[in-house]
């Protein structure tokens, strides 16, 4: 197994600031906007962006939820390994709100397809946007593209892009793992 660093901690930090600014450009004071981190690993990025926006860019408090898509996936009984669920925490109704899905890596687009269905259980949002840190180009199975992207990466199918977060993995970085 070889591992190549695609983004260092410093680069991740610069990208987070840029994404925060792009969000402000479109959503100003976030009064009608809700951030939704996709479980399991989109939640770290969502938390980070919320903190960054509120502390560095002095936005009012932003609503943040976690959405688990396990029960909405299209590969139930079709994968070798059992699907393990995570916690959903959405303590508000998303009716007529602007929802921003936040995930670390966009690969086939199937998780986002599941998230689009899952979020309907909490109301009908006025619009949904997608923010990802890493966009794996040329690997989509579905017509889904991000509205905000940190970095585009070309990786072939058996390679894996892993995003590490300080609070979970010790440091911020993005690596390309080849078996």
């Amino acid at each position: 197994m070889t591992q190549k660093v695609l983004l260092t901690s410093k680069e991740v930090n610069i990208i987070l600031h840029r994404l925060a600014c792009q969000l402000i450009e479109n959503h100003l004071d976030f009064s009608d906007t809700i951030l939704v981190g996709i479980q399991p690993r989109g939640t770290f990025l969502a938390e980070r962006l919320k903190t960054l926006l509120e502390t560095e860019y002095k936005t009012p408090e932003i609503q943040l939820g976690y959405l688990d898509i396990t029960f909405f996936r299209d590969d139930f009984r079709r994968t070798e390994k059992p699907l393990e669920a995570n916690k959903t925490k959405i303590n508000f109704i998303v009716e007529n709100k602007k929802v921003i899905f936040i995930d670390d890596v966009l690969f086939t687009g199937r998780s986002i397809r599941a998230a689009l269905t899952a979020i309907q259980s909490f109301g009908r949002p006025s619009e949904i946007e997608l923010l990802v840190l890493i966009d794996r180009r040329f690997s989509r199975n579905l017509p889904i593209q991000p509205d905000y992207r940190g970095r585009q990466v070309d990786a072939i199918n058996d390679e894996k892009v892993k995003v590490n977060w300080k609070e979970n993995d010790g440091e911020d970085s993005v690596c390309l793992i080849t078996n």
Binding site: F71, F76, P82, A85, N86, T88, I93, S121, F122
Partner: protein, 308 residues
């Protein structure tokens, strides 16, 4: 990655502590799902489940059906009273006929102990036992433990007394297995005629005195007197039973601690427990019913994920 160690849920005896933990963890997620504005997930949209009830049931059948529908499974339900069983069809024939309509899972209640086990050895489908005679009723025991865990934080180390008709109760046996597996201490309490001989061999103590039992316990699970299974008189009168083994508010208030009151339903109000106890703060009877749906969703989901 975690999965159940079994392909069928025939009884608590056949599963282990890890299975129970996994079912509870999964049920936590489903409990959140059933409290959403839209209480449905599409996981099992390509699974068909048959509910076959050879014995009457309201709560369990509704709870299973609701759990299946919340998971988007296709459901067919069937009661023996209106079926060809009356015309003399055997159990295997009945079930195989249903399975040839491409059913993946069978939830069965039957009056014969071992019926679910027998079925699991003879037909090709995932079987969930919804009660087999006086043997086991695993989903009830799971939801009872889950409700204790929810109310008291943990099952391990808790003292649970099961009161009433232990002899005819599948709920009692499944509960004893489940509670002990999770590290709880179990006593049974009831008229001697309704306590099975040699029940001590399961590691439970018999406490004939209700007051002493309640003083000892953290949780009292009050079982229903199963008149329909009694072919002779096991106690002189319902009134005498209620006086000796019924719990009323005065008795509860005279204890020096607050215990949790459970009942698997249906309640004979005024026999096992009085109305003011059933409707009191200490009773978790309606929580048990709500948790029943979450637990059954978890069991069905986890078993369905193992269907090839």
């Amino acid at each position: 990655m975690k999965e159940l160690s079994v392909n069928h849920l025939l009884g608590i005896k056949y599963i282990n502590k890890n299975d129970i933990d996994l079912i509870f963890e999964t049920a936590d997620h489903f409990k959140e799902v059933i409290n959403r504005p839209i209480k449905k997930v599409p996981s099992l949209r390509d699974i068909t489940i048959a509910n076959i009830f050879f014995e009457n049931s309201t709560r369990t059948k509704l709870s299973f059906e609701l759990a299946q529908k919340r998971l988007s499974a296709d459901v067919i339900s069937f009661s023996a009273a209106q079926s060809s069983v009356k015309k003399g069809e055997t159990l295997i024939d009945t079930v195989n006929n249903i399975l040839s309509m491409k059913v993946d899972m069978v939830v069965m209640r039957h009056s014969n102990p071992g019926a679910a086990y027998f079925l699991s050895k003879n037909v090709k489908a995932s079987i969930i036992n919804a009660g087999d005679g006086a043997h086991e009723h695993p989903t009830q025991a799971l939801l009872d433990s889950y409700s204790i865990r929810e109310k008291l934080g943990d099952v391990a180390g808790k003292k649970v007394v099961i009161v009433g008709d232990i002899l005819h109760s599948r709920v009692a046996l499944s509960n004893i297995y489940a509670l002990q597996m999770q590290g709880a201490e179990v006593k049974v309490c009831g008229p001697k005629t309704l306590i099975p001989k040699h029940i001590e061999s399961l590691g439970v103590q018999v406490e004939p005195n209700l007051r002493k039992a309640l003083e000892w316990c953290d949780v009292a699970n009050m079982l229903r007197v199963q008149n329909e299974r009694m072919d002779v008189n096991f106690f002189p009168s319902t009134r005498e039973y209620a006086q000796q083994y019924g719990v009323d508010k005065a008795l509860l208030d005279s204890l020096d601690k607050e215990i949790v009151i459970m009942h698997p339903g249906p309640i004979n109000r005024g026999v096992e427990i009085t109305s003011d106890v059933a409707d009191s703060q200490q009773s978790v009877i309606l929580n048990q019913v709500e948790n029943g749906v979450a637990i059954r969703m978890a069991v069905i989901y986890l078993l369905a994920s193992k269907i090839q």
